[in-house]
Amino acid sequence: MGDSGSSETTADNVEPLLDEVGIRRTVTRLAHEIVEGNSGIENLVLVGIQRRGVTIARRIASEIEKFENTPAVGSLDVTMHRDDFDRRGLRGTPLPTVLPELEGQAVILIDDVLFTGRTIRAALDAINDYGRPKHIRLAVLVDRGHRELPIRADIVGKNIPTAREDDVRVLLVEDDGRDAVIVTDRGNDA
């Protein structure tokens, strides 16, 4: 929401890799894969990473609700667990972290884009401070590659080959006013 007005305009001219329908189908598939992998929703906790991971986690939860009971959903902000603040520049004020009991639970960590893996590393550190889950699996809407750490997603909505410099954005109605996954080449980003 208003991160920068100019990139919004740029984003409008780019053909989305996933549109509203594509995102909806992907979320539905993620929901089914999560429940299948867990053989139901017993002990299942969906933990979304702020901000868009939380939105996706909520959408997945309401999908699951259509064929099972409602799973527990938590939100996690990893700003204060990042180790690269001096490289990636300054971050905004952390958003709320609200987690249900994680001890012994089957945690599904959810994020919008998997890139270097550093956010996930930070999230794993943060979860450790809350308790010891039975296991943690990772589900992402988009995997764009270029990992810098030995981390991979267990459930991937869509693999998108990108150049390292590309800017991959997941836009969601709740946060951005519309649904789309777009890739812009930073070189052409006038």
């Binding site: 204060m80 667990h81 300054l90 971050r91 905004g92 004020t93 709320p96 972290t97 401070d129 308790g131």
Partner: protein, 351 residues
């Protein structure tokens, strides 16, 4: 020093910009000396961030690496337990290195000047110096001679901004927006640095502030009409009341201040007993406040003097919350001063 001067200039919005909003969202303070130069949005950022810090404090393992590699020195020229420990904890929870210097075992006893001490600490790469000093203004002097962030943890009877921020945060957590609320401070206003910083913070947030105490313990210049023309804005406007029953009438928050016996020159009070009779915050007196009023005290308390023991531990008391919140607020402040985040201005405070 030059480096810091530049920083401050960058941070101040240029005159003529369209709004009072920060150009980049960067928190505009390099030091925390008092709240007199803090705008409402600056304080709101601290309150929001303090909420996030409370979440961390409530974790099973309250420790994050947000300030790894950041060095904080506690430099206390006056005794303190809660403030020093609070800063120490705040730094450690955020993963900073925290060193506490007690001045009676440091080179200060060999006659090292304050300026030399802060320069030495900076030469050793300390990023922030938390300072308590018996002389009003000492942290301002220190701030002019180092580019480490100086945090005033109490200077004489002048200011104690982090206590004021934790008071604001504690009220915010309990009652939400304090705009228009009646906040009464009772006791030794004249010697209270807490009261002065609270006055700035509370009035900036729109509260209706009443100070109450015996005339000898109300600061000179508390009344605007008593101030010389060059010092009209030395303190924000407040309502002054010497009758405690009238002061407490309909109060949303009553804050008892410690009677600072170590700072009482002769003659201000006939006796402690006399003071307690007329100004002690008691259950009977609090009955005049709003039914859901809150009772606060910055500590350390003299129970039986400025506050009755039963109300201090009673159901309206949020004195212990103040202590826990103090750690959260100091974490928020250290994180902001470190420059490692760029907070957006808060449009709506969550409650």
């Amino acid at each position: 020093m030059t480096a810091k001067a530049n920083l401050d200039i960058q941070a101040i919005p240029e005159e003529g910009t369209t709004s009072s909003h920060l150009p980049s969202g960067r928190w505009p303070h390099h030091d925390m000396l008092d709240l007199d130069n803090c705008r409402r949005p600056d304080i709101e950022v601290v309150l929001t961030l303090a909420d996030r810090m409370r979440e961390i404090l409530d974790r099973r393992i309250p420790r994050v690496p947000a300030l790894r590699g950041y060095t904080i020195v506690n430099l206390f020229y006056e005794p303190s337990t809660r403030t020093r420990v609070s800063f120490e904890l705040a730094g450690k929870v955020l993963g900073a290195d925290v060193i506490s210097v007690s001045t009676n075992t440091s080179s200060v006893v060999k006659g090292e000047s304050l300026i030399d001490t802060v320069r030495t600490l900076r030469a050793m790469r300390s990023d922030a110096v938390v300072m308590r000093h018996p002389m009003a203004g000492a942290p301002y002097l220190a701030a002019q001679h180092t580019d480490a962030s100086i945090i005033n943890a109490g200077d004489g009877a002048h200011a104690h901004p982090t206590q004021a921020l934790l008071d604001l945060y504690t009220m915010h957590r309990s009652i939400g927006d304090i705009a228009g609320k009646k906040i009464v401070m009772v006791g030794d206003i004249a010697h209270s640095r807490v009261a002065r910083s609270d006055l700035w913070g509370l009035t900036t947030m729109g509260a209706h502030v009443v100070v109450c105490g015996p005339p000898t313990l109300l600061a000179l210049g508390m009344r605007v009409s008593d101030r010389p023309s060059h010092a009209e804005n030395a303190l924000p406007p407040v309502t002054i009341e010497t009758n405690i029953d009238q002061a407490i009438e309909d109060a949303d928050v009553v804050m008892a201040l410690r009677l600072q016996s170590e700072r009482q020159e002769g003659g201000l009070l006939p006796s402690l007993h006399e003071y307690a009779t007329h100004y002690q915050v008691t259950a009977e007196r609090l009955a005049r406040a709003k039914p859901d009023h809150l009772l606060m005290h910055p500590g350390p308390k003299n129970e039986g003097i400025e506050i009755a023991a039963d109300v201090a531990g009673g159901s309206h008391s949020i004195i212990e919350d103040q202590v826990t919140n103090g750690v959260a607020v100091r974490m928020a402040l250290l994180y902001l001063l470190s420059g490692r985040i760029e907070p957006e201005e808060v449009t709506e405070l969550s409650t």
